[in-house]
């Protein structure tokens, strides 16, 4: 309704002369539909109205994204919307909103009594005031406000399709969650308001071409993250939310610094900064280094990983949406966006080293984790590191790997977080060891979780294929090769351990039908379908979404992977699925035997007990190896954080030195 009114006003007073009116409308809808939904959820506390609003917003958002995808494929290149076509008061809206936001953050800092937060926000405040009012930077005619190219489209598709599915999951999950927390007054209106607001901010963030607007949206996502992590209002959630806030604020300071430098160089337009060779100077690289640093903090790279791990106390939809599928992708999006500017430079080399090191360090620590959400968190950090590594390498295959990995990881990891959330409600535990025999109690969720984990681990699914592409693109850098090879091996280790536990099952003639809420079931099934479709359609994805982007940045293009190979491997997987079903249906229970326990089995053929000394029955307990002595979190965190921090310092040192001697 709001969007329609807005559009009518817009159409009457500001006619877009360049003929892209439908595309502009769709883009604005992509931003305003979730915003409208958010406000409705906040103002009207009725649960049924909330459900309808969420479903309608989701359908609308997904539809808009698909329409934009279709239109952009037909049009090619990108959709460009100039600032002068928008109302003239818009820059003032930005200035006022910015100040309001920073004052809100300051207020939070005071309320929490954290001087560091206050300090960081104050620095950003001063920097922004300087930039907006005193730096003399002015927008010029021909400035682009929104640029929707294929990279933005990929991000919009991720945010608008995976995002709503997660919000729909939350519809079924949150009532259960609040029951477990013994909340007297439901905080769901606030929860859904922030979730939908966040989706709106993300859609705007990935299409905006002006860095000062992007900074504003970036800080909105930081605020959303803070509010959502502290949703349960328990002591530990507030503590972890504060940590997320100050770490992301460090990134915010870096962002403002970058913006100030760019304003001195003459432009805050991303499209110009990436392509205009005349802007390239030592100062330019310092600013880009600051932006990459902001990306590092947002994507929880080492040494900033602890905020993401702490964020796991938040309800599961938060972990799925913000901390694996979308918000952290904003961090890597920024780095991938600026990748053409740093390819082949020393800055690019060090960005890829920092990313690559995080990839292997996070994968190593994940081996020792027992909490399912922590394993997923470390895996997320690891994959984000790989995306950054590919962005730093910058050749066509690496860029392809980065963009494809963004898509594949968002959907698979989102799915896995939702599964873990469902499992947590089902069995009351997040410990991997408690997931043995899960298939008996929750067959649907277990199947979905297993396929999700396999999609993160094995060929022919996308995540592994992009890892393979990353390796093939890193061939000129031996250190990166070693790092990716090691990380790859560690990744297999921790996924295989978890898969082994969750697949543990004894034969049962009849399985329970799981009691599962419809919205949860729908979102899990939809995401699973998405995972499978994306994996099979990897080559078409490349052709329609990635190749046009590569062409737009004047990169070479090739064939990333042999289609026949993917099809062959999927055929084998299909054969195995066929055999599973066949063996299950033809199973005769007279073929069942107990496991070998040196003859000390009890009558229970499942082998969960054995005859101990003095004819007593004892439980069989077998746990995974966690290798704490080698991969323990305590052991490795300090060491890896120091190494990574040194890498970042070296990265800055290199660009600052170049500037100082010029």
């Amino acid at each position: 309704m709001l969007a329609f009114c807005g559009f009518e006003i817009f159409r009457e007073y500001y006619i877009c002369e360049r003929g892209l009116i439908l595309e502009l409308l769709l883009l604005l809808l992509a931003i305003f539909i979730p915003l409208a939904g958010a406000l409705i959820c906040l103002i009207f506390k009725n649960e049924v109205l909330r459900k309808i609003t969420v479903l309608l917003s989701s359908a609308g958002l997904a539809g808009v994204a698909i329409a934009l995808a279709y239109l952009l494929s037909q049009h090619g290149g990108s959709f460009v919307f100039y600032s002068e076509d928008f109302p003239a008061f818009l820059p003032w809206v930005l200035k006022i909103a910015d100040i309001a936001l920073l004052i809100t953050l300051l207020g939070i800092g005071f309320k929490l009594k954290k001087p560091f937060v206050i300090f960081l926000t104050a620095v950003q405040f001063i920097g922004q005031i300087y930039l907006e009012f005193f730096s003399g930077y002015k927008e010029v005619a021909g400035d682009i406000l929104f640029k929707l190219d294929f990279l933005s489209l990929v991000m919009i598709l991720v945010v608008s399709i995976v995002g709503p599915l997660i919000v729909i999951f939350a519809l079924g999950y949150m009532p259960e969650h609040e029951k477990h927390q013994h909340m007297k007054k439901s905080r769901q209106p606030r929860f859904f308001f922030i979730l939908l607001l966040f989706l709106s901010a993300m859609n705007a963030l990935v299409t905006i071409n002006d860095l000062s607007w992007m900074y504003f949206l970036w800080e909105i996502t930081t605020l959303c993250s803070f509010l959502l992590i502290s949703h349960d209002k328990s002591e530990i959630s507030i503590k972890n939310a504060t940590r997320a806030l100050w770490m992301n604020s460090i990134g915010g300071v870096a962002f403002v610094s970058a913006n100030i430098i760019f304003s001195k160089l003459g432009t805050l337009q991303i499209s110009e900064l990436i392509t205009d060779k005349g802007l390239i100077s030592p100062l330019f690289y310092i600013a880009v280094a600051f932006l990459c640093f902001a990306g590092f903090t947002k994507a929880a790279q080492f040494p900033f990983q602890s905020w993401l791990l702490g964020a796991m106390v938040a309800p599961t939809p938060v972990s799925a949406l913000l901390h694996s599928s979308t918000m952290v992708k904003a961090g890597v999006y920024l780095i991938v966006r600026f990748a053409p500017a740093i390819t082949g430079t020393v800055l690019g080399d060090w960005v890829s080293l920092v990313g690559g090191f995080t990839f292997v360090a996070a994968a190593a620590i994940a081996i020792s984790q027992r909490d399912a959400k922590r394993v997923l968190a470390y895996s997320t950090i690891s994959n984000l590191g790989l995306i950054i590594c590919c962005a730093g390498i910058g050749n066509w295959l690496a860029t392809t790997a980065a963009i494809l990995l963004i898509m594949f990881h968002a959907i698979s990891k989102g799915l896995l977080f939702l599964c873990v959330g469902t499992i947590e409600h089902g069995i009351g535990s997040r410990n991997i060891e408690d997931m043995q025999g899960l298939f008996k109690r929750m067959p649907f969720t277990t199947t979905v979780a297993v396929i999700g984990m396999i999609s993160m681990l094995l060929p022919p699914f996308g995540v592994l294929l992009t890892k393979w592409m990353a390796m093939e693109s890193a061939v000129n850098q031996p250190i990166l090769l070693l790092v990716i090879a090691l990380g790859s091996a560690f990744t297999v280790a921790f996924w295989a351990k978890w898969l082994g536990i969750i697949l543990t099952m004894s034969y049962k003639k009849h399985y329970n039908t799981e009691t599962i809420k419809k919205s949860v079931e729908f979102s899990l099934a939809a995401l699973l379908t998405g995972v499978l479709l994306l994996a099979i359609g990897l080559v078409p994805l490349f052709d329609y979404l990635v190749k046009p982007y590569l062409l737009s940045i004047n990169s070479k293009v090739g064939v990333p992977v042999n289609e026949i190979l993917i099809i062959m491997l999927f055929v084998i997987l299909l054969m195995l699925v066929f055999f599973i079903l066949r063996f299950s249906s033809k199973f005769k229970s007279k073929n069942l035997r107990a496991p070998y326990m040196c003859g000390e089995n009890t009558e229970d053929i499942r082998g969960i007990e054995f005859m101990g000394p003095a004819e007593s029955k004892d439980e069989v307990v077998v746990h995974n190896y966690y290798l704490d002595g080698v991969f323990g979190e305590g052991r490795l965190t300090v060491l890896t954080s120091i190494i990574s921090a040194s890498g970042i310092l070296i990265m800055f040192g290199v660009v600052v030195e170049k500037w100082l001697i010029s």
């Binding site: 070693l482 898969l499 082994g500 543990t504 034969y507 195995l576």
Partner: protein, 293 residues
């Protein structure tokens, strides 16, 4: 070996692949048989007849089909199918790095099959197999990089086009590969997830709860793996190819000797040893290839 494909003759290529798929396990079984006979002679006894592995295989096929749950057989099929896929990729000369990943899928399928059973020996055997995978996977990937650095491509067909023996440029990578070959062939000192012949480790470790036809398929897959690994060694010297084959035979004989003279290690020892003598040594080789450019 993609000779026919290069000529555009898909039919002959497919025929060649099918012939290789049929011949490989027979060859693998014979190598296995020679292994047992030579081991026995080294130990001063007569040993079984040469065709013993085939008798074992046929006998296992004829056993009663017993199982613990309804899914374990499928994991063994996954182990077999992906190992055959890897072998086909080698025969057709496809991407070496992807071959390593397909083999990893094969190994993971086996691990999951064992870990999905409620048996202490099977689960711990599976855990140890994961540690073995952790040890040899980086070395295989680095080996693929080494081949790329020398020939300019990951495709195995390019090794034939390159012409010169790879072992001259990749001696340390070859050494590291031999070192982890012990792990892949399940020989002492690294046979600690399961062991062969009359040895026992964790009873039968990862294979404890697989019997009859399932165990026969595990044996079959092991034969394919033997031939695949021998083939990979042979590719270190392709012109003349008989030298490569000699290299492979010599390497296998070396493995038998090492098997007979060493005791089993712990996982810590294995990780440390492969980190230094596998990953470390292979990396040194790669680094000098980069520096030499």
């Amino acid at each position: 070996m993609a000779y026919f494909l290069a000529q555009g003759n898909v039919f002959f290529e497919m025929l060649l692949v099918i012939i290789f798929i049929i011949v490989a396990p027979i060859l693998g079984g014979l190598i296995s048989g020679f292994d047992r006979v030579i081991t026995a002679r080294m130990q001063g006894r007569q040993g079984p007849p040469l065709l013993q592995p085939f008798y074992d295989f046929i006998k296992l096929l004829g056993k009663e089909r017993i199982t613990l749950n309804q899914t374990q057989a499928v994991f063994i099929l996954g182990y077999l199918f992906f190992a055959i896929s890897g072998f086909v990729m080698l025969v057709m000369g496809l991407d070496l790095l992807m071959l390593v990943f397909v083999l990893a899928f094969s190994a993971v399928s086996f691990i999951l099959g064992a870990m999905s059973l409620r048996s202490p020996f099977s689960k711990i055997g599976g855990q140890r197999e994961i540690l073995q995978l952790l040890s040899y996977e980086p070395v295989l990937i680095i080996m693929a990089f080494g081949v790329y650095k020398v020939t300019g491509s990951f495709a195995i067909t390019e090794i034939f086009v390159y012409g010169k023996p790879l072992i001259f440029s990749l001696p340390l990578v070859f050494f590291a590969f031999l070192y982890v070959l012990t792990i892949k062939l399940r020989k002492s000192p690294f046979d600690f997830s399961t062991s062969h012949h009359g040895h026992q480790e964790l009873v039968k470790g990862i294979t404890t709860e697989f019997s009859g036809p399932q165990l026969a398929l595990i044996e079959l897959t092991h034969w394919y793996e033997i031939v695949l690994l021998m083939g990979l060694i042979a590719h270190f010297c392709v012109k003349p190819f008989w030298v490569g084959i000699l290299l492979a035979v010599g390497a296998y004989f070396l493995e038998i000797v090492i098997d007979n003279i060493s005791a089993r290690v712990t996982w810590k020892w294995m990780l440390k040893a492969t980190a230094i003598l596998g990953v470390g040594v292979a990396t040194i080789n790669i680094v000098w290839l980069y520096v030499a450019k």
